[in-house]
């Protein structure tokens, strides 16, 4: 039982890493980034390639840095020029980016599945409540908790964090009050994309790498973002942990319906509260 709860937390943690990136980008740019799953996939492949030459840890760090740079580029080259357009237009453009990135990954790494192994330090199992549990999943839980704690502290106690929180309530008023939201957006989209890269590498030993690996987890993290409330950081954490448990216990007790449960939850929550658990905006 405890093992199953931990499995759910590990998956929920991964979802959180992706969903929080979506929330960050939504807060500043008011768009939902359909390319986020493809960025997750790209980060995974970058980590895979670096790890193949050097080691897992360099792959992790390299992917984080590379994806942060790509995120900054994405904001400066795509999202900023589009900020005056209808937000749905920008969403469609990110859908186009998704298609381009998938084709790019197919061209570079091929269509066949690749697998990436966990580093020696984290392979093997430990005994928890008398049952074996993979060390690597504990590592996944640790990483997501550290990111959650770090991000919360940053948002809560730093000046930039204050600006980010203000923007995710109302970007226009924040800009009027003298915050340079364009510069802020560079940081935030870079950070969000970097987190997508980080979670890509962290998830890589748990799943097979393929150009479409990001699609399913993207949709689940959409559900997390919507259920948690668009633009809400704490809502995203709560929803990610909830969906992680539903995903895991659903697979055990309701295998035929497990993949549908998150969708049903989302439909139910949106009908009950169109803005999600903690959200104020639509």
């Amino acid at each position: 039982m405890l093992i199953q709860v931990l499995n759910g937390i590990a998956y929920g943690g991964l979802l959180y890493l992706l969903a929080v990136g979506l929330v960050l980008i939504f807060g500043l740019r008011e768009i939902v980034n359909f390319a986020h799953g493809a960025l997750f996939m790209l980060g995974s492949y970058i980590g895979f390639s670096i790890a193949a030459v050097f080691n897992f840890w360099l792959g992790l760090a390299g992917s984080l840095v590379a994806m942060t740079v790509i995120g900054i580029f994405l904001d400066a080259a795509v999202l900023r020029p589009l900020r005056k357009h209808d937000h749905m237009v920008t969403v469609l453009v990110t859908f186009g980016i998704l298609l381009v990135l998938e084709a790019f990954a197919t061209a570079v790494w091929g269509k066949s599945f690749r697998s990436m192994s966990a580093p020696d330090l984290l392979s093997g199992t430990v005994q928890i409540a008398g049952e074996p549990f993979p060390v690597y999943r504990l590592f996944v839980i640790g990483v997501s908790l550290c990111v959650a704690a770090g991000l919360t502290a940053w948002l809560r106690f730093s000046r930039v964090g204050l600006y980010v929180r203000a923007s995710s309530v109302d970007p226009t008023t924040t800009a009027i009050l003298g915050v340079d939201t364009d510069r802020l957006s560079l940081i935030v989209v870079g950070l969000g994309t970097g987190l997508a890269g980080l979670s890509g590498v962290v998830a890589a030993p748990l799943m097979a790498l393929s150009p479409t690996m990001g699609n399913y987890i993207l949709i689940e993290s959409f559900i997390v973002v919507v259920v948690g409330g668009l633009g809400s950081f704490s809502g995203a954490l709560a929803a990610a942990l909830l969906i992680g448990q539903i995903h895991n216990f659903g697979a055990i007790y309701l295998p035929w319906a497990s993949t549908m449960l998150p969708f049903l939850l989302m439909v139910g929550v949106l009908i009950w509260r169109p803005t999600g658990f903690a959200g104020k905006r639509t």
Binding site: V32, H87, G96, L99, V100, N215, I219, F222, I223, M260
Partner: protein, 340 residues
Amino acid sequence: MSIGESQLGGVGVRMAQQRYSWIFGLAALALVLGIAAPHLIASLLWMSLLTQAVVDMMLATSVGILVRQNGRISFGQAAFFGLGAYTFGVIAAREIASPELALLAGLVLPTVVAFLLGLVIARIPGVAHAMLTLAVGQALYEVAFKWRALANGDDGMSVRMPDTIFGIDSDVFQSPATMLVICWSLLVLMLLALSLMARSPFGQLTEVIRENDERARFIGYGTTLPRAIIYGVSAFIAATAGILQTLYDGYISPQMLHWSASGMAMIMAIVGGPRILWGPALGAFVLFFFKDIAGDATEYWPALVGGTLIAVTLFLPEGFAGLIIRLTSRAVRRIKGERP
């Protein structure tokens, strides 16, 4: 308005008749062209491609009508396409009911589901709406994917056609030369019906609601029901396209419901220009052949489609149809000797 109607009623009616006759004339021309097409096109391959293109055009039109009359972006339109195809395919293949009833059920079920769903989700705007439709679509996809007893899950199921449907030999639906005429005629009739609907008081009301839901309510209109009706109309068109594809291919698979299919339909509608009635169909036509040609040349065609989408949304916000209208009106003005 009421004064104008009483004083100038005769003129108004005559003008309206002129305007409508223009539309009917265009539709008749399109129908004749479609009936003549099999005699003009020699290649069977081209006719087959055109038939598939017309099915895509229908699906894109169903996405477009949701944007045009409701101002809503749907990322789950393939759900109704697939629901129509599955309802018809499963009932017909398992001989639960006569193929005629299966066809009707395939049209009615998606329409009713969309209407009921519309009652609930019509009030959710923007990005949340896009994601909700995505979730509904993926939930249906998961059902088709997981439920092997229904239609072989992921493998899909071939649907053996009954000998006749509505007294028509089912070979008619499987041969490109006749199917092209059927699909094209249905598409033309749908566009005609939609353009008449858009000009009707109901169509005007949906546009008012699209522009400002709150003010429409202030002046005393209920806004949920008209929106839900548009969802139903849109799903009806998508389901028709799904049934036509099933009749033609004799095959259903969960890919018909997948969100990438919804996304592609959305791209086709946006690239064509959803503000203009025939824009989405034009976008589907262009992208279908673009995909076909690019697919021959490179396996990375999604990148080209994605690139086109980015370029069109940035540089042609009104889509291909908007570009054509702008160019023709400029040409007309030049012919008339006015300054552009």
